[in-house]
Symmetry: C2
Subunit: 158 residues, 2 copies
């Protein structure tokens, strides 16, 4: 079964930057995913969290929620982020946590669209906290496509 | 003199993720900054560029343009990203380039605001390309503050 542990292992194997960030999984219950990274590898020149690290963490948390949902239905879709709006609310001085949640109804709508058409879109909200303070929010849209459908002809489909 | 070479060296020293991304400087002429990263450390599960890497690259390119402008005037401001809107237009299968440009008038307005008040904001546009294709755009706002003014009392100001 594809679960939180396998999701994070897959990310760390296939997305080198998530290894550099020391990405860890904290919780997944079917509707909510929480991923976390320590501050040290994600610090900036001021000693607080690098905005790019927060954006990356939020990006993979939204992505991971959709990846887990698709995997639960046996779908190995190619998942792409389409756009994101990120707000940095306060400097983060400790470990970073990103939480992405959707309702069972939002999840069902996304999965039934993918099952019917081999492609689907979802909009998600990710909230990042540090020391119990909300430090960053991200609204993002992702597209799930049939594997290989968005790759150039010259690119070997894996 | 603080120049492109020193900017990139400073980023790689103080923001570990930029080292992981293998960030390099390509060009700075006073109004335009181009930074670049190779694909390999910035790849995703599909073999193209990780959206988070593109967001990071765009973030530091906008940041770098403002950092260079402030340094030219002898200002060592704390520069924070406030928000960003990023659009991922196409998968990127090669080296990534991010370009941020502003007019001399935009630059002068930002610098005179900072000189007058010890704080200033700027909105920038960053375009990322790969294989001559525009793959990502980012609109972002940054704030320049007097060094140390946004740090918690418990945090040692460097």
């Amino acid at each position: 079964m594809f679960n939180l542990e396998k999701l994070v292992a897959e990310m760390r194997e296939t997305i080198p930057l998530t290894r550099s960030m020391a990405l860890e999984g904290l919780r997944y219950d079917g509707n909510e995913l929480i991923l976390t990274v320590p501050l040290a590898p994600n610090v900036n020149d001021k000693g607080c969290a690098f905005g790019g690290s927060l954006a990356c963490l939020a990006t993979v948390t939204g992505w991971g929620l959709l990846r887990l949902a698709l995997a639960e239905q046996g779908h190995a879709a190619d998942l792409y982020i389409q756009d994101q709006q990120t707000r940095f609310l306060a400097p983060a001085w400790g470990r970073l946590y990103a939480r992405c949640h959707w309702t069972s109804s939002e999840k069902a709508t996304f999965l039934s669209a993918y099952a019917a058409r081999g492609k689907a879109r979802a909009a998600v909200h990710v909230a990042c906290t540090s020391d119990d303070l909300e430090v960053c929010t991200m609204e993002a849209r992702y597209a799930a496509l049939t594997p290989g459908s968005n790759r150039p002809a010259s690119q070997p489909a894996e």
